[in-house]
Amino acid sequence: MTDLFTKFDDLIKTREDLLSTGVTDPFNLVMEKVLSPTVAICNGRETILLGTYNYMGMTFDPDVIQAGKDALDNFGSGTTGSRVLNGTYAGHKACEEALRDFYDMDGAMVFSTGYLANLGVISTLAGKDDYIILDIDSHASIYDGCAMGNANVIPFRHNDIEALEKRLKRLPEDAGKLVILEGVYSMLGDVAPLDKMVPLAKKYGAMVLVDEAHSMGFIGENGRGVCEAQGVIDDVDFIIGTFSKSVGTVGGFCVSNHPKFEILRLVSRPYVFTASLPPSVVATAATSIGKLKHAKAKRDHLWENSKRLHGGLKKLGFQLGTEDPQSAIIAVIMPDLEKGAAMWEALLNEGLYVNLARPPATPANMTLLRCSLCALHSDEQVGEILGMFERAGRATGCID
């Protein structure tokens, strides 16, 4: 018998080597208690959270929590069925209405996760003879959607406008074409030049899908994302998003003005062949989305936090993923996995949680400490965070 696990031997070894240095396993942290969107108890210690996607701090919002409790009481704990059979409740419809209102678009479809939204839309729209042109640093769910649909996939260099145009130019004129971009790329926290790329895609007759997972609620005048901030939202055919970040619960969605959009409900397998979200989840999502619409003050504070942390880390001598702050994600580039894990542990001992990211999730084989801010981090917390980075950085030799 061939052991099917043999293919993982290299990875198992890398992990064992890392853990044998005595470092805490960065991929096995448990939050024992969660006190607020920015503070939890980890290993018995109060820890500031700087590695969640809780950008707008909605997880403990009293209205959101009340909506979830009411839905649990009135609709039960789960739907036990697919959206197209017995799994569409009033709450799912209300949630889609909240999305249409938030984005000012005609169509909205709620999926069970953002991963499934990408899978369900991309694989269904782009089939065997169609072309998908995407940024090489696209999220795994985008690649998996491409593979599932069996389309011809053509990647281009990250955020490279010229590379995109060269490829668009060479496509057969009458072929179906879908250009896939992200608003904010989650590894380095950099923003795409959508104001240049979206018009280019249109010029060459391609439809455009933008994944705004990391910008919803925060970027753009109304929090609709980078395509709103850069003034091209009207030319984007599909926006994909998730409830697992700014919205503060779980779920995914696609919004669109396409007149035939609704047919996707019948033909998208990741929509049809999985159970719909529990009533409490769609109720919390709808309430949160409604509040995000009017969260201008929070957006402003999150920008202030991001700018201050970015500037402060840069001044301490850390190498960052972007020259200037572009989103609520600030990536600190580590020389290698070992140093990265040591720094991660030193920060945890200081009482700070950040995300350790390593290949293959990261571009160019980088090891990153990814910090993501929350609109509810106080000014004092940002000050504390900078102090922790300074001490941990010195102790591990990451800065001098």
């Binding site: 072309y131 090489i136 491409c146 011809n152 996939v153 053509i154 990647p155 281009f156 260099r157 590379a163 060269k166 490829r167 060479r170 496509l171 571009p363 160019a364 084989n365």
Partner: protein
């Protein structure tokens, strides 16, 4: 007219630019194992090949190509 020999010569020229380790290249040379190219190098190299011949090589096609000879065949097929 582009024949296989011409395609081969031009592709060997492009490989040279990315062959930082100076590994000897034949039609049997494999990109990942022998030239030890990472995914970013592969992306840039493929872009060079695409520009040189004004073609598109999809990820699906790339997955089928392991060595230099296979790339020459694929490109020669496309520029016919």
């Amino acid at each position: 007219m582009t024949d296989r020999a011409d395609v081969k010569g031009r592709i060997f020229g492009l490989i040279d630019q990315f062959n930082k380790k100076g590994i000897e290249v034949s039609e049997e040379t494999r990109f990942a194992q022998d030239l030890e190219w990472d995914s970013l190098t592969v992306l840039d190299f493929v872009a060079e090949v695409e520009d040189e011949f004004d073609i598109l090589i999809t990820m699906n096609q790339q997955a089928e190509i392991e060595n230099v000879g296979q790339l020459v065949d694929a490109v020669a097929g496309m520029v016919k």
